[in-house]
């Protein structure tokens, strides 16, 4: 456990020392959402109608873009090999890195989302559900994105490739995330959809670390 926390601390410390890099995700998130009213027009009812979808799609893109380099720096300076040789299983290392990245990327998105909901005239009934759905959905996105990042370590043109690998796998999270918020706004029961999101998170927690670790191992061979 202490080793797990050491890796989390290491990643957080690197991110803070570099400064700015991880906050780019949330800046992208805000900027991309702000572009939508400019694109579709400022009518409040149109914006309210599309608000949940816009926020979720942009959150998807923001997570994906920020995960591109999740393992790349460690791979290039060789610390990934040391992590793989460490007594901690590589699966746990992947989980630790995902947790660190959720704190760096997921949490700021979570904080920014209700703010953007206000900008898009979302009905106040959806705010709590939006926050809850994002809290359940963003870790899943990061876990799946980590698999994509592990697969593309050392690849040519990693960025575009990552989007092709990861975005189709994001679809269930997007569907249930948007549906939960829309149900809450319409006054329907959002609980089953939140439970579905929680189920996706548990499945991702149980399965993706194995796949990511396998991908990293074959990258290091």
């Amino acid at each position: 456990m202490s080793r797990f926390l050491l890796i989390v601390r290491r990643d957080l410390r690197i991110a803070f020392r570099q400064g700015g890099d991880s906050s780019m995700a949330v800046v992208f998130f805000v900027l991309a959402v702000v572009l939508f009213p400019l694109g579709v027009g400022p009518e409040a009812n149109v914006l309210a109608r599309i608000s949940s979808g816009v926020i979720w799609v942009t959150a998807l893109l923001a997570t994906m873009l920020s995960l591109e380099l999740l393992f790349q720096a460690d791979y290039e300076d060789g610390s990934l090999e040391l992590l793989a040789l460490a007594p901690l299983p590589l699966e746990t290392v992947v989980l630790a890195k995902c947790l660190a990245n959720w704190l760096l990327i997921g949490l700021p998105l979570l904080v920014a989302a209700p703010l953007l909901a206000v900008l898009l005239h979302m009905s106040a009934a959806g705010f709590a559900t939006l926050a809850l759905a994002m809290a359940l959905g963003t870790p899943t996105l990061i876990l799946i994105g980590a698999l994509g990042a592990a697969l593309t370590v050392g690849a040519r043109r990693g960025g575009v490739l990552l989007s092709l690998l990861v975005l189709p796998l994001f679809v269930p999270v997007l569907i249930f995330g948007v549906a939960a918020v829309d149900h809450a706004i319409a006054g329907l029961e959002a609980r089953p959809l939140l439970l579905a999101l929680a189920g996706l998170l548990l499945a991702a927690l149980a399965l993706t670390p194995w796949a990511s670790a396998a991908a990293l191992r074959q990258a290091l061979e």
């Binding site: 698999l147 569907i175 399965l207 993706t208």
Partner: protein
């Protein structure tokens, strides 16, 4: 299991076996397509509701079945490749991906052609269309990842892991999309209480499905064979380049001595 696999699935054995199978599967493909297309285009009655455009279904439905089936083949080959590190399994997975992507594209294109007169739109965001579209992107991602590395084996292993992740995810994607929106007519073949499709339409459909299956086997064998040959050529070239390089070095060394 392992012994049987290693006895029958060495590349040399495969080349011999596939050479024996190929003429038969190719012939079967031609015959089945001839019969199936005749039945589908001429021999079967037009549908009382859909008219002549029902004939699109005879291409569309088998293509959609094959799209899913080929992904299953690819995932199974990838699993075998990852577990037993069998070289032929990597080649098989690699060879099926473009075929599956083509079947998926055919299913999407014919579905769109059928949708225009039936639904009045080229594209409708209904559940099955959307999940087939996502399947198409999964194929594209697999092919892109396969070719994204300098080192071929590296790409193959990464793509195999992706194929398995996709196979786990595909049912989840399908159900979530299904839940999201269902406008497509419900499945009329795989239902409790037998198919709801009339016999005169079912016969050509089944023949066409078999024709697509035979076509897949033929093209898969051809692609695996050509990939094996390409590898041999690459290996020979590599040896030649190395030999030439060594010869150059010894010549240089002798020159320096003299």
């Amino acid at each position: 299991m392992k012994r049987v696999m290693h006895r029958f699935a060495t590349p040399a054995q495969f080349l011999r076996l596939s050479a024996a199978i190929l003429p038969w599967s190719a012939g079967l493909t031609v015959v089945l397509f001839a019969v199936g297309l005749y039945l589908a285009l001429i021999g079967s009655p037009p549908d009382y509701q859909q008219g002549e455009s029902v004939r699109i279904m005879y291409v569309h439905v088998p293509a959609a079945w094959m799209a899913v089936f080929v992904y299953a083949v690819m995932a199974a080959a990838s699993a075998v490749a990852l577990i037993w590190r069998h070289p032929l399994a990597y080649v098989a997975a690699r060879a099926s991906a473009p075929i599956g992507a083509c079947f998926t594209f055919i299913a999407l294109a014919t579905g769109s052609l059928w949708g225009k007169p039936m639904w009045g739109a080229w594209w409708v965001w209904d559940a099955r269309l959307t999940s087939v579209l996502i399947l198409f992107f999964l194929y594209l991602g697999y092919i892109a990842l396969m070719n994204a590395f300098e080192d071929q084996t590296r790409g193959e292993r990464a793509a195999a892991i992706l194929a398995l992740a996709g196979a786990v995810n595909l049912p989840i994607i399908h159900w979530s999309v299904e839940w999201w929106n269902t406008l497509h007519q419900p499945a009329s073949m795989a239902r409790l209480g037998g198919p709801t499709i009339h016999g005169s339409l079912l016969a050509p459909l089944m023949v066409m499905a078999l024709a697509f299956g035979a076509y897949f086997v033929t093209v898969l064998l051809l692609r695996i064979r050509s990939e094996l040959v390409a590898r041999k050529v690459r290996a020979i070239r590599l040896v030649r380049v190395q030999a030439a390089e060594e010869a150059r070095l010894t010549r240089q060394a002798r020159h320096a001595e003299a």
